[in-house]
């Protein structure tokens, strides 16, 4: 069954919060609030996360992996090179000296952590992305948008909730 999108605009977070709470508590056929509901806002708003419920973030695992890989890669590249320089006169000093190698390992640890965190961010945030089927530029100014996706049967119920909460504007996508 084809899904259709609806976008409702609100002037403040309080109203948007009430709408989301109602959407989550009301059973609407063909609409699953966990998967079919997106809130768009002009600022990072911790309360949005609260009323949307806990959703996992995995960026920190990319960070951990990147930092460890960066550090290991750094250390083994340096040590591997030094071990290959056995022909160089070292005057009795160790071929692979740990204290100075720590500095470059440390830098590579950070480099790997930062690069892979950015990669993780892009993957987890779904960027680069195509425009959503419905979008309003006023989201980047001062409005809060709620984008929902539902079967044809649920659209009217969703519209009714948006209208009840005095949505400033409702955009509707044509059915496919």
């Amino acid at each position: 069954m084809s899904k259709r999108h609806l976008l409702a605009m609100f002037s403040n977070f309080d109203e948007a919060e009430l709408v989301v709470k109602e959407l989550r508590s009301t059973s609407i056929k063909g609409f699953n609030p966990d998967d079919d509901l997106v809130v768009k806002s002009p600022i990072e708003h911790p309360e949005v996360e609260e009323f949307l419920g806990d959703k996992p973030v995995y960026v920190q695992w990319f960070t951990l992996f990147g930092a460890l890989m960066g550090g290991l890669l750094g250390f083994f590249l340096i040590s591997g090179s030094q071990a290959g320089f056995y022909a160089q006169m070292k005057g009795g000093k160790p071929i692979v000296p740990f204290p100075p190698n720590f500095v470059l390992t440390y830098e590579m640890f950070i480099l790997g952590g930062v690069y892979i965190s950015i990669l993780g961010f892009l993957i987890c945030a779904g960027l680069p992305a195509k425009r959503s089927p419905l979008y309003s530029t006023s989201v980047s100014e001062d409005k809060i948008a709620i984008l929902v996706k539902s079967d044809d049967g649920g659209i009217s119920a969703l519209k009714a909730i948006f209208t009840k909460h005095q949505a400033l504007e409702i955009q509707e996508e044509a059915g496919k």
């Binding site: 806002s41 960026v59 590579m108 965190s117 950015i118 961010f121 987890c124 945030a125 992305a129 100014e141």
Partner: protein, 454 residues
């Protein structure tokens, strides 16, 4: 005095910042063309030195680094305050940083790019730059992974690339605002490309917050390590006056100090040029000034520690270098450093000067002059007064080519910075909105509590 007005409409924030991209005051163009002229002088000097040889710089043995490496350290140091404002104060939830951290981050990036030029310039033979890369080759050019110079190259590369990424990631929501609000043209295409399709969804914000925080956590130790490693270029050598344990913290404090002074200068310039009086407020300036004062005192203390360590130590040569700095041919510059770096900032302790823009502009420039002199006084006196009398060369004076290159670097930095501020929003729109939002919430809570009490 408020950091920002709580009643500024979000739409106005967008409008004011977007206008800055298209209609700055005329002073903007005066600054850009002056910077271009200075940069041209630097390019001319480099072309001349490239064609004729390093002799024209009046560098010789033992004076091998001269102004080039002193200025290199200066620009590396300048970069640190961007990290201070964007990362350290971010972790400390100091929200007054929000309207000013973007340009501080840009300053970090461009000052690192400027510093990198001097590594190239001081080599002289640019075409042989790749010899400096440590890689095992058939020519038996042995890399020395124990050398702080190599650590330096790696640290600066890491810092530069991480800072660029941090600056870019933090700017994505603002790039989306630019994309949505500007007319068709090259700008629209550029912002559309760079915004990566950002729409401000809850998923994007959630991941953005964690990523930004994570990179901030990485940048702080990275910034400290970068200047500690630059300090190690000196402290790990055996040269008199450089082999001092306190050099790494001394360098880091100096870096934060010069960076903060530069932030005050650029704050005042941007506030006027882009008409940002509503965002770069005097209250925020006051906080920046107080921060600068505190760091100035830390720097002064570490200077005293360094002098005391040399004076009471048993290294006769290091002591002689210190005496030579204070009484020899470098004395005017060394005392100038002390005056600009330790005495002048005392003016910042007085409330009446903490928001006096003309005074602060002049003081910030002099503070940076002091910090530049500091770097020169680290490099030059030690080279001119080594262990053996037959290497003493106190008459070395940088040639006009060296001075031209130093001037050129200021032109290059200013040019890059001003172009950035004209192409990208130099005030973070979404974070200023957050600041206004949270402050207005607090205000409402306070009013409600007051009404309840009555």
């Amino acid at each position: 005095m408020k950091d920002i007005r709580e009643d500024i409409a979000w739409a106005k924030i967008n409008k004011d910042v977007l206008v800055s991209l298209e209609n700055p005051r005329k002073m903007y163009w005066v600054i850009v063309f002056s910077a271009l002229a200075l940069f041209s002088v630097g390019v001319g000097c480099e072309v001349y030195q490239y064609n004729v040889g390093m002799g024209v710089a009046n560098l010789n043995n033992p004076n091998v680094w001269g102004l080039y490496i002193a200025t290199f350290i200066f620009w590396i140091g300048m970069s640190h305050s961007g990290t201070l404002l964007s990362a350290i104060l971010h972790l400390m939830h100091a929200d007054w940083r929000k309207p000013i951290y973007r340009f501080a981050e840009a300053m970090t990036t461009f000052s690192l790019m400027t510093a990198g030029l001097f590594v190239m310039v001081h080599i002289g033979r640019l075409w042989q730059f790749y010899y400096a890369f440590p890689y095992p080759s058939e020519r038996w050019v042995w890399p020395n992974f124990q050398s702080p110079l190599l650590w330096d190259a790696m640290a600066i590369f890491t810092y530069l690339s991480s800072s660029v990424l941090f600056l870019y990631v933090g700017m994505i929501p603002d790039l989306a605002i630019c994309r949505d609000n500007l007319h068709e043209g090259w700008r629209k295409k550029l912002y559309t490309f760079l915004a990566l399709g950002w729409e401000g969804t809850d998923r994007q914000w959630r991941n953005f917050r964690i990523t930004y925080l994570t990179i901030a956590c990485f940048l702080i130790p990275l910034a400290v390590s970068v200047h500690s490693i630059v300090a190690s270029d000196f402290a790990m050598s055996q040269q008199p006056g450089w082999h001092v344990t306190s050099f790494p913290p001394y360098f880091v404090a100096g870096a934060l100090y010069s960076g903060c002074a530069a932030i005050i200068t650029l704050f005042i310039i941007l506030r006027y040029v882009f008409k940002f009086e509503d965002y770069m407020t005097k209250s925020i300036l006051k906080k920046t000034v107080r921060l600068t004062f505190a760091i100035a005192m830390v720097w002064t203390y570490l200077n005293a520690v360094e002098f005391a360590a040399v004076w009471y130590g048993h290294d006769v040569d290091a002591k002689q270098v210190l005496i030579q700095k204070a009484t020899g041919p470098f004395a005017p510059f060394w005392w100038g450093m002390i005056f600009c770096g330790s005495v002048l900032p005392l003016i910042l302790a007085f409330k009446r000067f903490q928001t006096n823009i003309p005074v602060l502009f002049a003081v910030s420039l002099l503070l940076n002059l002091g910090m530049w002199l500091e770097r020169w006084m680290i490099v030059a006196p030690t080279f001119s007064h080594g262990y053996y009398p037959w290497v003493w060369d106190n008459d070395q004076w940088p040639s006009l080519v060296q001075w031209g290159m130093v001037m050129g670097s200021f032109g290059w930095f200013t040019l890059l910075f001003m172009i950035f501020c004209k192409v990208f929003p130099s005030v973070s729109m979404y974070e200023v909105k957050e600041m206004v939002y949270h402050r207005s919430l607090h205000l409402k809570k306070d009013e409600t509590a007051e009404q309840g009490a009555h």
